[in-house]
Symmetry: C2
Subunit: 206 residues, 2 copies
DNA sequence: ATGAACTTGTTAATTGATTAACAAAAAATA
DNA sequence: TATTTTTTGTTAATCAATTAACAAGTTCAT
């Protein structure tokens, strides 16, 4: 299938989680406007996304939930699942790990995390071990981990990023502050709550 | 000044943090392409944003950092500062509070947080107290808090949102999973790391 | 049956965001 | 002094995302 627009991919991921919950109500069908309102979207946008996804609905009942979920799974879970890891198992890392683990279906698997704190190393959370950061390169290579979530607190993040890229990481989700350098072809996503706060403050007052 | 486009506001917030750090290098000027590369942006975009912001650079040296920062402050910090609060001081709430507190300049102030856990209530973090959630409405009204960061874990989030809106909250930054309802005119921003993971996985494999 | 009331699926139009293009200014170089 | 280099500021062009418009299918009520 043709490559989907980034915003569509983002929403499709959200559809899946909402639908998984909706399914527990044993409602076999859903209308585009219902799915839209659950996510504060426009119904046309939902239908357009689903068209791009290749699913088709029903004039009377809307979309069949099981079919929709199947179709989303096929699109997002290719190939099988991507391996991700969390670097820095402090408060944020632990919260994220538990949050991700709460997902019933997810095309991204976390099987290992890393830290430098001896109190953390060799402990497990929900069965997922925390390894010594010095072993990160070999474990990342061995497990073919492709995504690194950066939730550590350190002065020299750049050195760590370079090592991780060398070990095979192709995408970073970075929660640390401060500019970092990454070569072309490596994906990077950063969110800082301070930006969100400032944006919202601006909106409220303007 | 005219209302800035949302994406420009977002970037301006990032410029400020990067510039605050850059300033410590005692470099009085910065070029658009340097600021751009620190944030993985296009130099033209930076110049365009700064044009919209109303600042002006210098043909030889680029932009004067102190002037830039002053201009950003005036745009983002209106009026003075918005009050925000964190609902749910678990792992995530605590991490966020410390992270926000690490900002030298921020137009958003957090002076109170809330929880239901007796072990949390009446403790302080970096001098910021955690109050009993049952007192939230009165304190929010009294302190004119406008933004609520939702980092709690509960089954009935909707009831809490309704109470908070009633108390005067105009914007939510929600980390909880699951669809919520908010009336028109209330701002809402949600990020779920699972969506980011799935997006990135899709990008890596397509 | 006929039309009213829904809905989906899709193309077209609009809006928003990014990038390209280039004139104008200033200094450095030849 | 003329030319090259570099950078800003701004308009125009392009690209991306959203929304509008509407035909077509289906059921329900009359
Ligand atoms: N972007 C955001 O919105 C946001 C929100 C909250 C926190 N943060 C940031 O996230 C980071 C973590 O926050 P936290 O509250 O979990 O901090 P924390 O101090 O609780 O945890 C940091 C962890 O990183 C580990 N660590 C340090 N150096 C390491 C290394 N070289 N390799 C591996 N692990 C290492 C520490 O041992 C610790 O366990 C901070 O930098 C914070 O500023 C960002
Ligand atoms: N969106 C994301 O990317 C993301 C990432 C991490 C965590 N999360 C979510 O954030 C939430 C918090 O995660 P955490 O790791 O901090 O959990 P946690 O269990 O450590 O903290 C939850 C806190 O909320 C408090 N609480 C519960 N009910 C409350 C109420 N009615 N009023 C006020 N406080 C209340 C609890 O006492 C506790 O202190 C969870 O829902 C989690 O799924 C989301």
């Amino acid at each position: 299938m043709a490559k989907l627009p980034p915003k569509t991919v983002e929403r499709i991921s959200q559809y899946r989680r909402v639908l998984a919950k909706y399914q527990t109500l044993s409602e076999p069908f859903i209308f585009s406007h219902d799915l839209a309102s659950l996510l504060h979207l426009n119904p046309v946008q939902v239908r357009r996304d689903l068209m791009l996804l290749g699913t088709t609905g029903n004039y009377r009942n809307g979309y069949k939930v099981t079919e929709l979920l199947k179709s989303i799974d096929e699109t997002l879970t290719i190939p099988k699942s991507t391996q991700a890891t969390i670097i820095g198992m402090g408060r944020l890392g632990e919260s994220l790990l538990k949050h991700i683990g709460s997902s019933p279906v997810c095309p991204v698997m976390i099987n290992s995390t890393f830290d430098i704190n001896p109190k953390r190393i060799n402990t497990t959370i929900r069965g997922i071990p925390c390894y010594d950061m010095t072993h990160a390169p070999e474990i990342i290579k061995e497990q073919k981990i492709k995504i690194a979530i950066l939730t550590l607190y350190t002065e020299d993040i750049q050195a760590i990023i370079d090592i991780l890229i060398d070990a095979g990481i192709e995408g970073f989700i970075n929660y640390m502050a401060g500019p970092i350098k990454i070569p072309k072809g490596i994906y990077l996503k950063e969110y800082d709550i301070r930006t969100t706060l400032e944006e919202m403050s601006y909106n409220i007052h303007n």
